[in-house]
Symmetry: none
Subunit: 198 residues, 4 copies
DNA sequence: AATGAATGAGTCTTCATTCAT
DNA sequence: CATGAATGAAGACTCATTCAT
């Protein structure tokens, strides 16, 4: 039963790759770096993966699966759309704080991505975004949310979150303030305008 | 009067670089490509710029100046905060449609950026974001906007815009729908919650 | 038993490098030449050595080891200082004839050398020169040589040899005349002055 | 009479070139460096000299002329061969201390030199060495020096001097000790052997 | 006399990838 | 499963040199 060894190596590689991709992007990281960082020979890397691209794919897929699972778990059994969204936002930001790579990478490479990769990016968007959208749709159906194209709402929410992450984590390198999650949610729910001016 | 030759060459290079950076990112574009695309020899490029990095800097700076001017012009003389924001959003999206490079690049390279570049990214954020923030502050002072940390509002707006651009332009490669500007603004102003539930 | 392949490749590279360095100096030889001359791809060269400089270092070190061993062997078991010096001179010139690179290179690059290389040059001087110096000291102690700073003597001897090599081998490209070794030694032992004028 | 301007520029270039060649050798210095160091544009350099090689030639020739003149002046009117040699040695070392470039360069590039340059190197050797040789011949004729091939003596002397310069100036970067001139001369005149052992 | 823009071959070095072991 | 030797195309950047002004 030497099976776990294989799995270990693959995961070792993906772990190192994830870190490097997060730091340097797809074009900016090299197999040599990956070999050094993972402690495995270049040959070994190519034994487990066909391509640099395949490594990228795998990192993305794995990350996607993780974040999906994470969010799903956090949100499981929650029926109320508002509470659901609260949970989502908190988990999203927490996740970002713990491993910064994924969201950053997704946001980044988009221009240079060729088809294969774009598919993954789209799947993330669809998977994560789709879940959010359906909750919003539910809220609209329940008459609690305004009848607005859910896409717009999703974009606004994820955009705010990503921008917050990009600004706070990447640029400032500061730590995520948990209070912000609530402020973002509040703003997301009520917008800018003062009620009396509605 | 062939004097502007110098200026022309530098600009020719920057124009080509802008296009390439927009497509492939900093790490992903090569001087060789730049040479081919600009029609100038590699030596010539290095005659005008010290570094690949210097080229990047210049592209960013130039773009920053352009977009700033653009927005400033669009917004000049507008006093009403809501109208101001409308103008801003429209110009921001228009600008993105016309030359896609800047916002995309900014959003992208962040992880791999070293200090010099980050400074520029920060300046964009401060310059563009700061302007928006002050308008929002004005709106709050006038009692028209809710008393909310302007940063949160700015993040939400710019995040929504960036995400829209990233999703629509980069991934879908589709054209910006002018109606979206209004929808984003509407959402930004009123949020998700139905009024009767306030 | 094709194990020595590694060693072979490294040595193949160093052999070619030695030849090229001897001909063109450090700055004057190119990795491309080295690749052509060694029959190995540029990538392979960089697989075995980090740097152009590291190649240089290795060539020097290897040569230093060789010449040291050579001289040591030639001089082994010789007690009489005069005979010792005779052996040394002959071996030194012979060595120079067989592989011209080392002495020439050493003599040459000195101005452009950075620390790492200078250390090697110093070691040669100390190793080879030191041995000669100690023999001269022994001769002085035995009362056979004049009580003169050994450094001066060493310098004069090695200077004469190097100059001879430079003039005869490099400029004239002629072959070393074995008689010269004796003439140099004679001059080294007795100097210019006629005895009756002492 | 704007003639001196020309001369000035040429000399400015040669001065800078001399310094650079002394430091980096022929292959190791670049026209760009020369342009920066001399404060003149690359075009200007090529206005005055056809080639990198021509610059090298000129530096060498000029230096050769200088050192020749220097030595000639120092030795002028001296009849006694021993005193002549003393003056020569002192001047040679002084010269080396003042501008280190010439001797070093000569000693260095030899391997990489093509014909044109070698001719100069040979001329130096013949001019400087020849003068020394003829004084030694005179001494032999006067019965004061041993009847030894003058070449051997010249080689020993210039070799000792060069080696001293290389070791002290280049490697140690220390200052020339004037006492050494006398010690070298003493050794040159009397050799290593103690008189009573003759 | 002097400039600086322009060039393309050439510099060292890194790349992703293959393959025999 | 794992290695490290090997590759050649591509990377950023420098070179000596030309030429219009």
């Amino acid at each position: 039963m030497t099976e776990p060894t294989t799995l270990d190596s693959k995961d070792t590689i993906l772990d190192a790759a994830q870190e490097l991709i997060a730091q340097y992007g797809f074009a900016g990281f090299s197999i040599r770096d990956l070999s050094r960082e993972s402690g495995l020979a270049k040959g070994t890397i190519y034994h487990h993966f066909q391509d640099k691209r395949e490594i990228y794919h795998n990192v993305m897929e794995r990350d996607l699966a993780r974040i999906s699972t994470r969010i799903q778990a956090a949100v499981a059994g929650v029926d109320d759309p508002v509470i659901w969204l609260h949970c989502f936002v908190r988990t999203f930001l927490q996740e970002a704080e713990e491993r910064r790579s994924h969201i950053r990478s997704l946001v980044r490479e988009m221009g240079a991505m060729e088809d294969g990769m774009l598919q993954i990016a789209k799947r993330v968007r669809e998977q994560v975004g789709g879940r959010v959208a359906s909750v919003i749709e539910a809220g609209i159906a329940q008459g609690r949310f305004r009848d607005i194209p859910p896409q717009i709402a999703v974009m606004s929410l994820i955009g705010a979150l990503n921008t917050y992450i990009a600004w706070q984590l990447v640029v400032e390198d500061s730590i995520v303030d948990p209070g912000v999650a609530d402020m973002i949610m509040d703003f997301f729910l009520h917008g800018l305008t003062k009620e009396e001016n509605l």
